[in-house]
């Protein structure tokens, strides 16, 4: 009984916290429906050309543009099961650049309305053996081409799209957690509790590509920010990184864009020239996430080595 009381008070604390900080951030992004956090600054001076319903071309200051309703089409979620045509998404993580800024983690948690102990994206301190230097490794869902999680799902709640993204339909999920047991990357999280700010989001329509609002008793995980990709933007974590760790792009076009510098490079060249590899590739899961080796390991402070 004590246990549940503790849970209760923790929940209350988190709810208050959420209402102040995380919640308002996530809420504003829901209303705005955009992937860019700074959309409320007025009159930026930059104009955008738009085509109206009457076939007139107009020019509007970009600050005044906001998406009214992302779910205009009623079969939006069934569309979301198919994937974007002509795309196969790939993420490249340059471990040499990661300095554990954790901006990606914070952004991810707030956008996906996660509790502090839930991770779609987790920056790990890795160390192969006693005498090797540790390094930081951001780890999200690997969006495998042979996904163990999708195979075991009894109700097709988690599925693989044509563009390589593995998603979860939390209106379908029965909460058996077989996918969590099957995932070798520990990429999945379960809603053990009522999600934060559940009351606030209860009337918000479910967005399968963002997997929000979260639902109690269902599984959640990284979506490769499929909602951003549909709008032609980079994933939340990729653009939140201050250190240029992430490259994201379309493998069919052989191009990946760095989320910090905006520089676009050849995916093949990037991976080949830097000795890129995939995590636990020997398991045969065929991930869509590639890692460039952690050449610069001096970035890890000494005290963080201890809990490896």
């Amino acid at each position: 009984m004590k246990e549940s009381e503790k849970d209760q008070s923790r929940r209350k604390f988190i709810r208050n916290l959420g209402a102040l900080g995380l919640g308002s951030l996530a809420f504003s992004s829901i209303i705005g429906g955009s992937c860019s956090p700074k959309k409320s600054e007025l009159a930026s001076g930059k104009t955008v050309k738009l085509l109206t319903n009457n076939n007139e071309l107009v020019e509007v200051d970009s600050a005044y543009i906001s998406t009214l309703n992302k779910n205009l089409s009623s079969n939006h979620n069934s569309e979301s099961r198919k994937g974007l045509p002509g795309k196969k998404f790939v993420l490249v993580v340059d471990l040499a650049k990661c300095q554990n800024a954790r901006k990606c983690m914070d952004k991810c948690q707030s956008v996906h309305q996660l509790r502090p102990d839930q991770h779609h994206l987790n920056v790990l301190v890795m160390k192969e053996s006693e005498n090797t230097a540790p390094y930081y490794m951001p780890k999200q869902c690997q969006h495998c081409d042979n996904p163990p999680c999708v195979k075991v799902c009894p109700v097709d709640a988690t599925f693989k799209r044509s563009d390589g993204i593995v998603l979860i339909d939390n209106e379908r999920c029965i909460g058996c957690r077989f996918c969590i047991a099957a995932c070798p990357y520990s990429a999945r999280s379960f809603n053990w509790y009522e999600p934060i700010d559940a009351e606030k989001y209860k009337d918000v329509p479910y967005d399968i590509e963002k997997n929000v609002p979260q639902k109690k008793g269902t599984v959640t995980k990284c979506t490769f920010s499929a909602d951003c990709l549909r709008e032609g933007k980079l994933p939340y974590c990729v653009s939140a990184c201050p250190n240029g760790v992430y490259y994201f792009g379309n493998i069919y076009e052989d191009s990946v864009t760095n989320g910090t510098s905006g520089e676009t490079v050849s995916f093949r060249k990037l991976v080949e020239e830097n000795g890129g590899y995939r995590l636990m590739d020997d398991l045969g899961t065929a991930p869509s996430v590639y890692y460039l080796p952690p050449k610069n390991r001096a970035a890890v402070p000494k005290e963080e080595n201890s809990h490896v």
Partner: protein, 453 residues
């Protein structure tokens, strides 16, 4: 000549009367302790249900399962109950097909354990679901490539065949009860009336019955092997160290036969003591069940050696960590208790005849059952707690799994439910087959037939 025949018939009739009186004793006589026992079970179930309501309100957060150990006590309980249920097929089908005769008084005990355990397993797996309100999704959106769907198919098939195997051989007994139990409440008489399906005991009816039972006992063997093999595949189809094993199917099946035999011994003992059935469930039966337990345990021991010592020889990184954890780490005391007190010592002791006496076998069986439950916990939990990648940025509690009070009470409730099903069965139906016992004692079919009319 005719006189002698008459006398023999008279004797047989008296003998049958004695058997019927003995074997309907649990139905006719309600001991005060029975009511206390049922009340106790109902209380445990009520507590379990109350805890489950709490779980429905607050979510699975009332358990100690979290993102790392996302399966725990419920899944262990599920695997345990499925394992126990396998004994129905062992006693009623496999031994019968091998022409073993001594199991006659034990068949119904085994079969009722099987049915009750499957019902318990199906209940606890729903308890484990995050969204039990979406159970119907499995039937609407079910995908055949998921081992969960295989499990649902085979477990339910097994339940149906087990129910039939419990029911069909009981039809002549029910017909007998229909005639005799006139002092019982109306619903009970009506139940006998319906379930006896117009049984008259004609030769043709016996022939049909025998043929149907023969079909069922052949059918149930592959289904029984399938339910536990598929249950093992819930683990073996993943890549995790400790589960990624090719011998999980037979390993689980052999373990199931072991715990099932122990469960039958436990119920045999209770029935024998409570209703003075020493005449029907004799020391010989305990001796033979103990030998069966030794045999099944030896097979299980063989698989344990394969499962643990082969990876321990190689010490491949993650398998090695898993083995180290079991042998010397956090779970080592539980592991060695299970292996030694729940398997090696029982095998060793029961080789000697004095330890195959009823009381000794009972104590040994209780150790085997406790060991088997803990074993299921050891199969599920350590592997969950040690995924491929390091567990970081989680609260400290995520590194451990200790079942909370609510989840433990729910599991206790599931055991109480299994016990209640068996208890209530005992109250309505004869736990030892009447006509098969009579038949075995040489009483002719004609006399048995007459007693049903």
């Amino acid at each position: 000549m005719r006189e002698v025949y008459r006398k023999e018939e008279q004797e047989q009739r008296l003998q049958l009367e004695q058997i019927v009186t003995d074997l309907t004793l649990p139905i006719n006589k309600t001991y005060p302790s029975f009511k206390i026992w049922v009340g106790f079970l109902l209380l445990l179930i009520a507590v379990g249900v109350a805890m489950y309501v709490q779980q429905l309100i607050y979510g699975l957060s009332v358990t100690d399962m979290r993102d790392i150990a996302s399966w725990g006590l419920y899944i262990s309980d599920f695997v345990f109950l499925i394992a126990v249920s396998l004994v129905g097929s062992l006693i009623t089908a496999i031994l019968k097909l091998s022409n073993v005769k001594w199991t006659t008084p034990l068949t119904r005990i085994a079969e009722v354990i099987a049915v009750a355990a499957v019902v318990g397993a199906l209940t606890i797996i729903v308890v484990d679901m995050g969204r039990p309100d979406r159970l119907w999704h499995i039937f609407v959106y079910g995908r055949i490539q998921s081992p969960i769907v295989w499990d649902i198919i085979v477990v339910n098939t097994y339940l149906v065949i087990s129910l039939l195997l419990l029911y069909l051989p009981m039809i002549p007994d029910i017909a007998l009860l229909r005639q005799r139990m006139n002092n019982k409440p109306k619903w009970q008489q009506k139940t006998y009336q319906i379930l006896s399906m117009g049984w008259q005991g004609t030769d043709e009816q016996f022939k049909i019955l025998e043929r149907s039972i023969n079909v069922l006992i052949v059918l149930i063997v592959p289904v029984a092997l399938a339910i536990h093999t598929v249950t093992s595949w819930l683990f073996a189809t993943t890549l995790r160290p400790g589960w990624d094993s090719t011998i999980f199917g037979p390993y689980f099946v052999s373990g199931a036969f072991m715990v099932g035999a122990a469960a039958v011994i436990l119920l045999m003992f209770i029935v024998r003591i409570r209703y003075n059935y020493a005449k029907y469930i004799t020391d010989y039966h305990f001796d033979m069940m103990a030998k069966l337990l030794v045999l099944t345990s030896l097979v299980y021991l063989y698989f344990n050696i394969n499962e643990y010592l082969v990876p321990a020889y190689k010490m491949k990184t993650l398998d090695g960590e898993h083995i180290n954890g079991l042998f010397f780490g956090h779970f080592s005391s539980m592991f060695w208790f299970v292996q030694i007190a729940g398997m090696v010592i029982p095998i060793f002791l029961m080789i000697f005849k004095p330890f195959r006496k009823p009381k000794a076998v009972l104590v040994i069986s209780i150790f085997v059952i406790i060991g088997a439950f803990l074993k299921r916990f050891l199969i599920v939990t350590p592997t969950m707690l040690h995924p491929f990648l390091p567990v970081q940025n989680y609260p400290e509690s995520y590194h451990h799994y200790t079942p909370t009070i609510p989840e433990s009470l729910i599991v206790v409730g599931s055991f109480a439910g299994v016990a209640l099903v068996i208890t209530l069965f005992l109250k309505v139906f004869p736990i030892i087959p009447i006509w098969e016992t009579a038949h075995e004692k040489g009483i002719s079919n004609g006399i048995i037939k007459n007693s049903c009319k």
